[in-house]
């Protein structure tokens, strides 16, 4: 064991610049990989929170608004309102229907924009009566939308999901791009490790030959190289995990959480899972290229 460890250490020292290069490459690519994993978890958290709140809002015609189902200059009539209400309540996908008057909406508006100058420019008459529809399954909004869109008195049917969908699409794209870029970098890191070990084995080929002659087992011969690449990869992994932890502490907890409180942000449990994945990837990415690179020196 002592011999193995001393060989490992001398191997790492022998080519310090290459070791550093491997550590840095691993650090960057594993950090990126970790960020990709964290983004995926974050998106899931946001989705989980917001999808409950997905509502379809059926806006009714008012004197001030225009729509293909509206009588210009008139509010929706009570009869029309009844029809819309019945259509919604009888729809099997609908969980609940809540009616808001212009005044209800205006009260909310005053609350949200209380510090804003817009307040002075708007009145209750500028708001729209609406039905807020909670769905049993947020994914099944299409049916409700198409059922109510053409009804007289309906100015517009807005579904929040339609608004959020593009946001999620972009978030997913960002996540895929991050993970994709990290995979390319990880591939480069793996090749770099394979190359470093191949050069190390080549420069030690006399010793390896003598080891085989004297009857050293393959395991004894390969172990120092495995430990060498593992040490460099794990050093990079530790730096990457530190980076991710710093991200959590200073960016998420420090800045994002206080700034946007309505979103549930990733926490230390997410970091923990990601750290495990990062370490596992580091181990695999150092072991396999090393075994491949040393194969020809193990042939009896």
């Amino acid at each position: 064991m002592r011999h193995t460890l001393s060989e490992t250490w001398s191997g790492l020292r022998r080519n310090v610049t290459m070791t550093i290069a491997v550590v840095v490459t691993m650090w960057v690519s594993l950090s990126l990989f970790g960020i990709g994993l964290l983004s995926a978890q974050q998106v899931d958290l946001i989705k989980g929170r917001w999808y409950d709140k997905i509502e379809v809002t059926v806006f009714l015609c008012t004197a001030a608004t225009q729509g293909s189902n509206c009588d210009a200059g008139h509010d929706a009539t009570d009869a029309q309102r009844e029809v819309i209400k019945k259509t919604l309540e009888s729809n099997p996908e609908v969980a609940s229907v809540t009616y808001e008057t212009k005044n209800d909406v205006f009260a909310q508006f005053k609350e949200v924009y209380k510090d804003s100058s817009i307040l002075g420019t708007m009145t209750a008459a500028d708001m729209q009566d609406n039905f807020r529809v909670k769905l049993k399954n947020p994914e099944e909004y299409q049916g409700v939308v198409s059922a109510t869109q053409g009804l007289p008195g309906v100015q517009k049917v807005q579904d929040l999901r339609g608004i959020l969908e593009p946001v999620f699409a972009w978030l997913n794209l960002a996540r895929v791009a991050t993970v994709g870029a990290s995979l390319l970098l990880l591939l480069a890191a793996a090749l770099q490790i394979g190359n470093t070990i191949r050069m190390a084995a080549f420069s030690r080929r006399r010793e390896l030959g003598i080891m085989r002659l004297v009857g050293a087992s393959n395991w004894f011969i390969v172990l120092p190289f495995l430990l060498e690449s593992l040490a460099a990869a794990l050093a990079g992994a530790v730096l990457a995990c530190g980076t991710l932890a710093a991200l959590e502490q200073f960016v998420i907890i420090g800045k994002a959480q206080p700034a946007i409180q309505t979103v549930r942000w990733i926490g230390w449990d997410n970091i923990g899972l990601t750290v495990l994945a990062v370490v596992a990837v580091a181990v695999v990415l150092s072991t396999i290229p090393t075994l491949i690179a040393t194969r020809r020196y193990l042939r009896v």
Binding site: I210, L213, S217, V300
Partner: protein, 227 residues
């Protein structure tokens, strides 16, 4: 100890076999000279004993192992029973005499405590007892070959193979090495030595096996180098 049974070896891409139908039996404790001109098959013979290659046909038995049935993972174990000495010494560069000899013990996992005892004893056997701390690059050819012998012998293997051990040495130094090999042989180790050195062969009068063009042409006890 070593048995070759109708062994033929043709290297890939060659038409002429390096060894052709060689049958020979070497017993425990024997001292055998392997002679022949370059290309006669001496190195092939020794490499086959070390299981560096497999014979194209025929079977080889070394220290009780049937080499054709030996799985790859057991080859290291076989090699630990065959000490080797070469013309170019094959010592680890940048390491001391003691470290080189200890290496053979380290690879088989002997504890450091034992190694610290065994290495000086072996160095005394080969006459290098006060050179343990010297780097091998600083030694003369004769001394380096003694280190190689010490390493080959430190595990007390049943067989010792020497491939032209005196090839790089002057006649006087060669005699010293041969005396050492003789002493090792007297402890019961089977010694097979390939050589071009006719003087040594003629002096020692041991069993001589001669190869020519891959064939065994002479097997003579108390033999000389040539007729």
């Amino acid at each position: 100890m070593i048995t070759f049974d109708n062994v033929t070896k043709t290297y890939a891409g060659q038409t002429r076999p390096a060894l052709r139908d060689v049958t020979v039996d070497i017993g425990k404790g024997e001292f055998v000279f392997l002679v022949g001109s370059s290309g006669s098959g001496k190195s092939t013979f020794l490499r086959l004993i070390l299981r560096e290659y497999k014979p194209t046909s025929g079977s080889i038995y070394v220290a009780g192992h049937d080499l054709s049935r030996l799985p790859a993972w057991r080859i290291p174990r076989l090699r630990r029973q065959v000490g080797t000495v070469f013309q170019d010494f094959r010592l680890l560069p940048g390491k001391t005499v003691s470290e080189n000899v200890a290496f053979a013990l380290q690879v088989i996992g002997r504890p450091a405590r034992e190694i610290r005892q065994i290495v000086p004893q072996t160095l005394e056997l080969v006459g290098l007892e006060d050179k343990g701390g010297r780097l091998t690059d600083e030694l003369s050819g004769g001394e380096q070959q003694r280190v190689a012998l010490a390493r080959a012998f430190v595990n007390r293997p049943p067989i010792l193979i020497a491939d032209e051990p005196t090839g790089n040495l002057d006649p006087t130094t060669s005699v010293g090495i041969m005396k050492l090999l003789d002493r090792i042989n007297k402890t019961g180790t089977t010694v097979i030595m390939a050589t071009h050195d006719s003087t040594i062969v003629d002096q020692m009068r041991k069993r001589v096996i001669e190869l020519a063009d891959g064939e065994l042409v002479r097997d003579q006890s108390k033999g000389v180098y040539g007729y």
